[in-house]
Subunit: 182 residues, 2 copies
């Protein structure tokens, strides 16, 4: 693993991106014993529609907890893609919702796309778990925590009645991404 | 308002302290138009029982998003009080759950206490809203955002069926704290 790995989840408010960040940070730290910082910054632009959440994971203590060079970025909306793909490091990764981001940001990063929100709606039956589909996909894409560690973190964060739904969403996102990467 | 104001919510995992931090950050930024950063750091100690969430609020952009000198700290458990009252700045504020923190940390800060979790259980009827009782108390104590701004942020974060419960928890925490400060 790299010394310091930064992941950004971006989209619109209400899409559960903070929760996705918290689960990933808990998978890395509580389950895998690494150091992690999860944060959201709100500037004057917070009143707009785009929203982001960030996770930094490191084997060493994290002195500077602000994202500086993003290794991997998710964008679920066009506005988020336009705004938050800036700052991805050279050879970084950008995962987009293919239905909602038609204008693909240009830069020195690899772009992957699939209909994340539609997958949540049609394959899982609940659009609300799009964040967990995206989380599964980001774990597959980055390999920053193990499949099992993050699955455990997902299951420990959701109420009992929603465990099966979220487990399915996580697994589906992970598998779809692995297919894309073949 | 001070240039930079730092608030720490600490207690045990599962007490909703991250949510309290997110709501406060949203009240400051989305409602009041200030800058805010909300974060949780997980070190190797994250496997233990104590947990914290931090909010930095400023009129200016926040360059260094790690808490350095905490203006106000909440501790809902003894372990959290022991661990996270360190770092409170001189003349800072420490709010404790009076049932659960019997051994009061010593330092150059003002200590306030009331039975926060018992208030949630007995006055509101649901222990789960102890985080929102605490949030109301912290708003009263710090005056860092207006009563109304944070109330709006609480209501926009909770599902419709739980709005009344959370509104009552928030108001109760705020009023109990104001009584203590008289």
């Amino acid at each position: 693993m790299a010394e310091r790995y930064e992941i950004r989840f971006s989209g619109a408010g209400g899409q559960g991106l903070i929760t996705a960040g918290i689960i990933l940070a808990e998978a890395a730290s509580i389950v895998e014993g690494k150091n992690a910082v999860q944060s959201q910054s709100y500037g004057p632009e917070a009143r707009g529609g785009a929203s982001k959440s960030e996770v930094i994971i490191s084997d060493a203590p994290i002195d500077y907890p602000k994202a500086t060079q993003v290794n991997a970025c998710l964008a679920l909306t066009q506005e988020a893609a336009d705004k938050y793909s800036v700052g991805i490091k050279p050879d970084g990764l950008l995962l987009l919702d293919s239905d909602l981001v038609k204008n693909i940001p240009q830069g020195d990063f690899k772009v992957y796309q699939f209909p994340i929100i539609r997958t949540a709606k049609e394959d899982i039956g609940r659009e609300i778990v799009a964040n967990v589909v995206a989380l599964g996909a980001m774990v597959a894409l980055t390999d920053i925590v193990s499949y099992e560690a993050c699955e455990q973190a997902v299951l420990s964060r959701v109420p009992p009645a929603f465990k099966e739904l979220n487990q399915k969403a996580y697994e589906t996102g992970f598998k779809k991404m692995k297919e894309l990467m073949k």
